[in-house]
C-alpha cells in the first residue's frame, strides 16, 4: 500500500505538469518552434507516459486489495466476513493473518502457475464483464449468494502454497494420508465440510438440522 501511495503522487504530479503545459499551449498558442515542440513532447509524451506507467502499476496493485474485490455488492458478504474479527470461517481466519492481510482475496484466489498473474487478471476482467453486462449488477445479494459460484473447483495447490503437506504433523493425520491421491487430483477440497470447513460458509445451503433451528 505504501508504494501505491507514492505512485499516486507520481501520477498526480506528472499529470499536473503535463496538464499545465497543455493548457498553456491551448491558451497562448505560441509559434511552433523547436522549443515549443520539445515542450509539447514533454506535455504530450514524457509526462503522460510516466503517469500512464505509474497508473498501471498502481492500478494493478489496487486490484489485489480486498476492498477492491468487495466494492461490487455481490461480494459484500464475502468482504464483510473476511474483515470481521469475530468470524470463524476459513477465509476470515486467513484474512487475520498478516501474510494475507489486506490482500487476502487475491492471495487465496490467485492462480500460481507460470502465467498465473496474467490468467488471474484475465479472470478478473470476466468478473467485470459479468458484473456490468452479465446481470450481476442488478442481482440482489441474496440471489447472488445462491447463483454465483467459482467456475471450477478451488485448487488445493493454492492452499499448498503455504501448507506444504510435507511436515510430519500433516502426515500424522489419518485423513490426510488416506486422501492424499484425491487431494493431489483436486477431487477432494481442503476447504470442504468434513475437512477444514468452507471458506465462505454463508454461501452454502444450510443443513436440514440447522434449518430446523
Amino acid at each position: 500500500m505504501e508504494h501505491a501511495n507514492w505512485l499516486g503522487f507520481v501520477i498526480l504530479g506528472s499529470s499536473a505538469v503535463a496538464a499545465a503545459i497543455l493548457v498553456w499551449y491551448l491558451i497562448k498558442r505560441p509559434r511552433l518552434d523547436l522549443r515549443v515542440k520539445l515542450l509539447l513532447l514533454l506535455g504530450l509524451g514524457i509526462f503522460p507516459a510516466l503517469a500512464a506507467a505509474s497508473s498501471t502499476v498502481s492500478s494493478m496493485e489496487a486490484t489485489t486489495h480486498a476492498e477492491f474485490c468487495g466494492s461490487c455488492h455481490v461480494m459484500d458478504s464475502h468482504f464483510q466476513s473476511a474483515i470481521d474479527p469475530k468470524d470463524q470461517s476459513l477465509a476470515a481466519k486467513h484474512s487475520r493473518n498478516p501474510f494475507f492481510g489486506e490482500r487476502s482475496c487475491y492471495v487465496c484466489h490467485a492462480d500460481y502457475g507460470m502465467y498465473g498473474y496474467a490468467l488471474t487478471k484475465a479472470g478478473g476482467l470476466r468478473h467485470v464483464y459479468e458484473y456490468y453486462l452479465g446481470g450481476y449488477r442488478q442481482m440482489p445479494l441474496e440471489k447472488a449468494l445462491k447463483v454465483i459460484h467459482l467456475r471450477k473447483p478451488y485448487d488445493n495447490l493454492n492452499c499448498r502454497q503455504c501448507h506444504t503437506t510435507t511436515l510430519h504433523d500433516w502426515r500424522r493425520v489419518p485423513d490426510h494420508d488416506a486422501l492424499e491421491a484425491e487431494l493431489d487430483a483436486n477431487r477432494v477440497s481442503c476447504a470442504s465440510a468434513g475437512c477444514h470447513g468452507y471458506a465462505h460458509p454463508f454461501t452454502k445451503p444450510k443443513a436440514p438440522a440447522e434449518n430446523a433451528q
Binding site: A19, L22, R31, L32, L44, S55, H65, S71
Partner: protein, 93 residues
C-alpha cells in the same frame, strides 16, 4: 501560399489542438482512477486512458511530421515569397 501549405498549416494547428484536448482527457481518466480505485475507473484508466493518450501522442507526431514536410526548401521559398514572411506553418493567433 500553396494549397498544400495551407492544408498542412491548418492540419498542424488542428492536430496539436486535438492532441492537447485528447491528452487532457486521458490524464483526467488516469487521475480519476487514483482517487476512485473501483473496477470501472481502474479499467477505464488502463484501457481508454492509455488509448486516448496514445492517440494524442500520435496526433502530435503527425503534426510534427507535417510541419517538417511543410518546411521543405520548395515550400519555404514559395511561402516566404507569397506572404513576405519567413516560412512557418504555425502562426501567432
Amino acid at each position: 501560399m500553396s494549397l498544400r501549405t495551407r492544408l498542412a498549416q491548418g492540419s498542424v494547428s488542428g492536430l496539436l489542438k486535438l492532441a492537447c484536448v485528447l491528452s487532457l482527457l486521458a490524464l483526467a481518466l488516469i487521475c480519476f482512477a487514483v482517487f476512485v480505485p473501483r473496477p470501472l475507473p481502474v479499467i477505464l484508466a488502463m484501457s481508454a486512458g492509455h488509448a486516448v493518450g496514445g492517440a494524442a501522442f500520435a496526433c502530435y507526431l503527425l503534426a510534427v511530421v507535417l510541419d517538417a514536410m511543410g518546411r521543405t526548401p520548395a515550400t519555404s521559398t514559395e511561402s516566404a515569397t507569397s506572404t513576405g514572411t519567413k516560412a512557418g506553418l504555425h502562426q501567432e493567433p
